[in-house]
């Protein structure tokens, strides 16, 4: 990855919260809780998912930067959703959480050296997990879920098909782990 590619991905990471907020903004409680099918994710689920995944990602980044070859346990997004009450929790703290964790983590990304970027750990399911892999994933992650929320809003109004998978990402490379 070149320096300019990294800078572009860091900028993308920084803009994820705004995209998420814009996608959620202006929708009623009914819209937040609508699901295309019983097992599909609602907008509320998606927001809590992004908050937990980004919180987990922030801790992973800090571990990659301070431990030698840390072991990163997988994050099972569907178990999190079901066990942690995503369907019933208010979303404002989760949105604040995404904003705050992106702000503190972006401060770290800006100051990384070439040797920092070469660091890596081991993910329990993916295997080798480099800092650059982390950046590719997290630069896209919040934006992808913002797009999922926009599609849910359209599907609710009958203007688009619902996302193809409950979480929106079956088979996509950005599936959360």
């Amino acid at each position: 990855m070149t320096d300019s590619e990294r800078i572009a991905l860091i900028a993308r990471y920084r803009s994820g919260y705004r995209a998420l907020l814009d996608a959620v903004a202006g929708h009623t409680a009914d819209a937040l809780d609508w699901r295309p099918s019983p097992e599909a994710w609602s907008v509320r689920d998606v927001v809590h998912h992004v908050a937990d995944a980004e919180l987990t990602g922030a801790v992973r980044l800090r571990r990659l930067l301070t431990e030698d070859g840390p072991f990163l346990p997988a994050f099972d997004e569907e178990v999190y959703r079901q066990r942690l009450g995503y369907a019933v929790r208010p979303i404002e703290p989760a949105l604040d959480g995404v904003r705050a964790v992106h702000a503190t983590t972006a401060e770290l990304l800006d100051g990384l050296t070439a040797s920092d970027w070469a660091r890596a750990g081991t993910h329990s399911e993916e295997g080798a997990y480099s800092l650059e892999r982390w950046l590719e994933f997290h630069a896209a992650h919040t934006h992808e879920h913002a797009a999922q929320i926009r599609q849910l809003h359209l599907a609710r109004r009958g203007q688009a098909a619902p996302p193809p998978h409950p979480s929106g990402f079956a088979g996509a490379p950005a599936r959360d782990r």
Binding site: R62, L65, T66, E67, G85, P93, D96, A100, A103, T104
Partner: protein, 161 residues
């Protein structure tokens, strides 16, 4: 731990952010960055510590609730302070991260069942680590550091006199 004891600790946990904000009220720029002794943290460093520590603790609680006997990795808070340049970074984002980690995690604490509270993992340094142990550790973590900030400020005032 009885439900009443847990409720009291959860209430303390939820009050921790405001306690830290109160301890910082009216602090000046030099005072904020002043270290009372070599190797001790300034108020700015304490705030960054709270942001990282409470983010990590939020993930720990989630893992205790999700995974069966997760390994909870210890971390070196002094190394974090140096490596992540706590003394050089703005503190407003860190305060917001501390606040958000607590507010999202408090949502979880309030709906935990007796069975959830007995869930446990293994900490790499301290060994068995239950959800109740987590609550005991973090309930007063904000308050402890608010007191540290107040001590710093008292020492700063004494020094400047």
């Amino acid at each position: 731990m009885t439900p009443a004891e847990r409720q009291a600790l959860i209430a303390q946990y939820k009050a921790g952010y405001d306690e830290v904000v109160r301890s910082l009220a009216g602090i000046g720029p030099d005072e904020r960055d002043w270290r009372p002794a070599p190797g001790e943290w300034s108020a700015r460093e304490v705030v960054h510590h709270l942001a990282d520590s409470e983010t990590i603790s939020g993930v720990r609680l989630r893992r205790l609730l999700i995974e069966d006997n997760p390994v909870i990795q210890g971390y070196d808070e002094a190394e974090y302070a140096r490596h992540f340049r706590y003394q050089d970074r703005p503190w407003e984002p860190a305060l917001r991260a501390f606040e958000a980690a607590r507010s999202t995690t408090a949502q979880l604490l309030e709906s935990m069942t007796d069975k959830d509270w007995q869930r446990r993992g293994t900490h790499t340094e301290s060994g068995p680590y239950s959800a109740e142990a987590w609550l005991r550790i973090y309930a007063d973590h904000g308050h402890v550091h608010a007191n540290q900030i107040r001590d710093n400020r008292a020492a700063w005032a004494a020094r400047a006199r």
